[in-house]
């Protein structure tokens, strides 16, 4: 029987939630790496037992963990992330040049076809790759070095590369997003890069239509239609129909277009999900009501999904990497909150149930659909 495995990274450890295809009863395992911040963990599409986790702490820095048995046991692998060549500088909060310094891994993206190949998006923003199962890491320096890197500035959460999307149809095409630099695309497996931010409009930066400097929070893509991208920007929900060459706003009737995650239904490429958040200074849902919004039209026209979600006194946030979907026939949608709840919907968002309610603040949620 098919099943799902939900991989949850929190402020104080990782948790693995498993269920059969009905998604009604859940087994909760964890905390793994208790006390450490787990920014992200994700399984390989080529081997569902191969998982990678980013384990980090202010005391002891970065550790990368790997599991070869679906998260039952873990082994630390390589944690040396050295920028290629002379790291150079980016802009600091006060506008002065600041040397590139590795802080942590925000996102791990396993290759689509090789369990031993995995990409890491890091703070200070850079893209690294391992081809030996995480034992050693090499930077793909063309991203930082393509020309605009010295003008990048950190967002409030740090200058992090938080989104990595591997195009399943165009070999060598990779999308990344950086806060607060913007979106970037490589068409040659990460050797060379260019900004893809045309059409983004951001108040709060000197040139509102600048080539870089936009605070992109998340990008999502449906694998069957990889030239269409959906973006939750700091403010504004955006869509591109040309692999990021241009963007248009699709915020439509959302109550607020500020938010962090965005994701796409597993079987309907024009069904997308966001979690509207009040504002950049009020990181909680409008009116104390936690609502996912779904568009079945690829944007512009949105409907609130509230059944099973708290509709009073709810002031949690949902971080950028904390929403995911499974690929069962009735698409499952999952998200985690800063209040430690992980909510699941087994009917594409119509109804929601908490799998767990009292975890540490959730940083990331990923889902594996198991054979």
């Amino acid at each position: 029987m098919t099943g799902v495995r939900v991989l949850v990274g929190t402020r104080k450890g990782a948790f693995v939630l498993t269920s059969d295809g009905n998604r009604r009863k859940w087994d909760v395992s964890g905390p793994h790496f208790g006390g450490w911040e787990i920014y992200h963990l994700k399984g390989s599409a080529a081997d569902s037992n191969r998982l990678y986790a980013s384990q980090t702490s202010g005391w002891s820095g970065q550790v990368i963990q790997r599991s070869d048995d679906g998260g039952v046991t873990w082994e630390p692998v390589g944690n040396k992330f050295s920028y290629e060549g002379t790291p150079g500088t980016h802009q600091w909060y006060d506008g002065t040049p600041h040397p590139w310094e590795f802080e942590r891994v925000w996102h791990l993206e396993p290759s689509l076809d090789d369990p031993d190949t995995v990409y890491a998006g890091v703070e200070d923003a850079g893209l690294f790759k391992s081809t030996d199962g995480g034992h050693s890491w090499q930077e793909l320096p063309g991203l930082r070095g393509h020309g605009t890197g010295s003008s990048w500035q950190p967002g409030a959460g740090g200058m992090c590369l938080h989104t990595i999307i591997l195009d399943p149809a165009t070999p060598g095409r990779i999308f990344t997003a950086i806060s607060a630099a913007g979106a970037f695309r490589s068409d040659d497996a990460g050797q060379t890069w260019r900004p893809i931010n045309r059409g983004l409009h951001s108040e709060g930066i000197p040139d509102e239509d600048a080539e870089v400097g936009h605070c992109v929070h998340r990008i999502a893509m449906h694998p069957s239609r990889p030239s269409v991208l959906f973006m939750q920007k700091h403010w504004d929900v955006m869509r591109s129909d040309d692999a990021g060459d241009s963007w248009r706003e699709i915020s439509g009737n959302l109550p607020t277009d500020f938010g962090f995650p965005i994701d796409v239904h597993a079987h309907e490429p024009d069904t997308i999900y966001v979690v509207p958040i009040t504002s950049d200074s009020l990181h909680y849902p409008p009116d104390g009501k936690l609502r996912v919004y779904r568009s079945r039209t690829g944007g512009d026209d949105w409907e609130p999904l509230a059944k099973g979600l708290p509709q009073e006194n709810c002031y949690v946030n949902v971080y950028r990497d904390a929403m995911a979907v499974d690929s069962l026939d009735a698409c499952g949608v999952y998200f985690g909150t800063t209040g430690g709840q992980v909510y699941a919907s087994a009917d594409a968002g119509d109804t929601w149930t908490p799998i767990v309610r009292d975890l540490p603040a959730v940083l990331s949620v990923e889902v594996q659909t198991l054979p």
Partner: protein, 98 residues
């Protein structure tokens, strides 16, 4: 035989129960102790000192014989009691919120 006590989160990472005991050939210094520790437990590389610069991480402290040795030079000799195994070398996570 040098005795080293790690903070709990690093003992869990390295799967260590209790004290670590290390044989050090030559001078017993912060550097030689950490070199031996990391050689025995490679997963600790980068968690106590930076892998490139070898500088102590900001929120890690080194104590021994009721003294804070965190700011000693890496090649300074550690106290005789540590070198003789009478007192442990304490690697400590600094008190900080969270």
């Amino acid at each position: 035989m040098i005795r080293v006590i790690l903070p709990a989160h690093l003992r869990r990472l390295a799967r260590i129960d209790g004290e670590v005991r290390l044989e050090i050939a030559g001078a017993v210094t912060q550097r030689s102790v950490l070199d031996a520790l990391e050689a025995t437990y490679p997963m600790l590389r980068g968690t106590i000192r930076d892998q490139e610069t070898r500088k102590r991480r900001a929120f890690i402290r080194f104590f021994a014989c009721e003294e804070d040795l965190s700011h000693e030079q890496p090649d300074a000799l550690l106290p005789d009691e540590v070198a003789a195994g009478k007192e442990p070398y304490l690697i400590v996570g600094a008190m900080a919120g969270g």
